[in-house]
Symmetry: none
Subunit: 457 residues, 2 copies
Amino acid sequence: MTEDIGSRIDLYIDQHLEGSLVELSTLCAIPTVSAQGGPAMQQGAEFVAEMLRKRGFAAEVHATNGHPIVFGERRGKGDKTLLFYLHYDVQPPEPLELWESPPFEPTSRDGKLFARGVSDDKGHIQCRVSAIDAVLAAHDGELPCTIKFVIEGEEETSSDSIPGFVEKNKELLAAEACIWEFGGVNYQGTPVQYLGMRGICYVELSVETGTLDAHSGLGGSIFPNAAWRLTWALASLKGPDERIRIPGFYDAVKEPSARDLALLGELPEVAEDLKRTYGIQGFLKGLQGGVELRREEVFVPTCTICGLTAGYQGPGSKTVLPVRASAKVDFRLVPDQRPEDVLRKLRAHLDAEGFEDVKFTYLGGEPPARTDPDDPFVQMVVKSAEEVYGVEQLVNPMIGGSGPNHVFIEQLKLPIATAGIGYPGAQAHAPNENMRIDHFVAGTKHTARVIEGMGRL
Amino acid sequence: MTEDIGSRIDLYIDQHLEGSLVELSTLCAIPTVSAQGGPAMQQGAEFVAEMLRKRGFAAEVHATNGHPIVFGERRGKGDKTLLFYLHYDVQPPEPLELWESPPFEPTSRDGKLFARGVSDDKGHIQCRVSAIDAVLAAHDGELPCTIKFVIEGEEETSSDSIPGFVEKNKELLAAEACIWEFGGVNYQGTPVQYLGMRGICYVELSVETGTLDAHSGLGGSIFPNAAWRLTWALASLKGPDERIRIPGFYDAVKEPSARDLALLGELPEVAEDLKRTYGIQGFLKGLQGGVELRREEVFVPTCTICGLTAGYQGPGSKTVLPVRASAKVDFRLVPDQRPEDVLRKLRAHLDAEGFEDVKFTYLGGEPPARTDPDDPFVQMVVKSAEEVYGVEQLVNPMIGGSGPNHVFIEQLKLPIATAGIGYPGAQAHAPNENMRIDHFVAGTKHTARVIEGMGRL
């Protein structure tokens, strides 16, 4: 980007900051808690569509079986199209008593704006439209590329409607690249690029060995015990060596490339931060830190017990032999594992190990998906971050969490990069969620440069 | 007993049934859940003491380090003393949603009285005092023998205070024989005598791997998971072959005698009844029934998971990696195993298997103890049952459950027999605990005959 255009964009963003924060505060005041629903969901979708229309977008609110999806489009001069994926829904605000100001009354203090959703993800919606305002001002009211928006309302409840919406609207959503819903800086204030997400396969295992809990003195040596059956079935999945024992589970696993490992090597050390934050003595498998820890964190599939329930759980003792027991288990998947394949192999494994009595319910999943760090779009996004932040952007080739990025990568064949306003102190999903206003300015300037860069890609 | 006295006793019990059930219902309405404590425990103890005083007993509520113990005594004509051991505490009522009527609102339907504790053990307390009422009425207000009561409040939580109480009050408790807290009929309605109890060693295993639950996407492959540690530690205790793997666990086990096996051989087949009642498909170790099943049920020590807790247990999925997990586990012991020995071996086993991080709390225990089936008191109790039930009483040399019988057998040198109101459908320890009213009548008539018989022993 020419220095002249860059200066004009930055000046516009700085001069219009107050208007951006007012618009964002109005959006944050709508309690779009997807897990709790209610009329705020439709209201939030309509408000977001109106934000786009004000920027000359054709925008529509599409009904789904869940909460509506907002689609918006505005044509630009160039032949390239950039897609922004975002969400207007937020996490539940509870526990309310831990908020210093009410979650749906946006409040500014200490250079931060506090509100539920201000970082995840409404600040990002505002960042995109404020960047568009600046680009339009710098280009006499024209966009250098076509821009499309998909803004959903179920991201915090596993994006159930997005895969179907994307599949049905491939033409409408056609683009050359996508900017994901988050982005920002690390603890040191260094901008970080995130390029892939692990998949997930979440199941609830359950065993029922009878119809009535027995007195443990009666049945202990002769009745099947659901808690024992569950324990043994779980222990058959993974042992203390952390190796998942389901035959074929690792078949589709792709090792990280030399390039991935080199990128991990450039990331700062996090071992001590993790230990302090989570109060753990050490890591699994004797890991101390460094590339080995970061590789294990994101490029290795997992099998995690998220919950266990059986029998008596109150204070003291109850001598009961439980006939029902269940466990919540999630598998995090790495390329090229697929959740449906894990389900099939899990069933075969349980049957082969004699656990036909252990049933499971699939509670949802998504395959992993990645974007090539050497993709020209990614390179452009990384390079334009340096112009704003003054330091080279770090590139994280993969994160441990999961999301619907696979739908855009697999169905729409888009490279996905991130740019945004987040930081590790944002308390997303927790009380006192906040956005640093200087981060908002930087993220908006970065987003405007990505739009600029898209016109020249 | 003369037929005349017998008839007068039976008539009295039949005619005063309604009053007995009203008194029992009032007792059952007091939520004396020993595992959960609260003011109901003292209230229950006072109520029980008052029940005895109404029958002319000197009764006192003795404070302990746990819940109070009620002692009552009334002198009789003869030189013999009969001791009744009972308990006023009950099991926790949870899960509440499975009760057809609230657990502490006694409800009569279909010839049964429903309430937590109505069978275990408040129905037995009522049975003893109603029997005494009938005996007093038939003997012009005099007892044919001295009667003492020990009614404790911690039976459902391993009777921690009873051993010390008995040891300190050997003179006070001196007697010739003891009737235990339960008794009754089997699936066929045939009265059964129970002469020994397995011991118990109840522990809560717990693991804490950090201070803050992590997102499973972050920690799944690098953070220790308390639920996994617990699962593996449990699986190290016992495998699907049901063999307990703690080294030396079986060292002190005595095999049943030929007389024991002969008595077991006279008991009716219960396999189909057990399967139907508990809704189980079959028994462990391929057992089908017969002496083999009954021997396994009572003469083999066990390791039972009574409860499991970790992480998220609500509806749907939550991607959390739990830092705390715990399990309730009971071991049932056979002669001559001792709980303190099991604790020592359990710790050594966990340490040897690499589970130093798995702590446990001892929630109580008792050694096993037995009474000789050929004891004259036992023979009298067995014979008097036949007068009430019209069929010969079966003799079960051992039951699978546990209790503080060892204290009375070892410290007070008493033979212990049973008489009571229970039946296999009572759902003791389960939702919808109940007592059949006809069984209450029969158990009370039998108890009255035991008091009569004691005067002539």
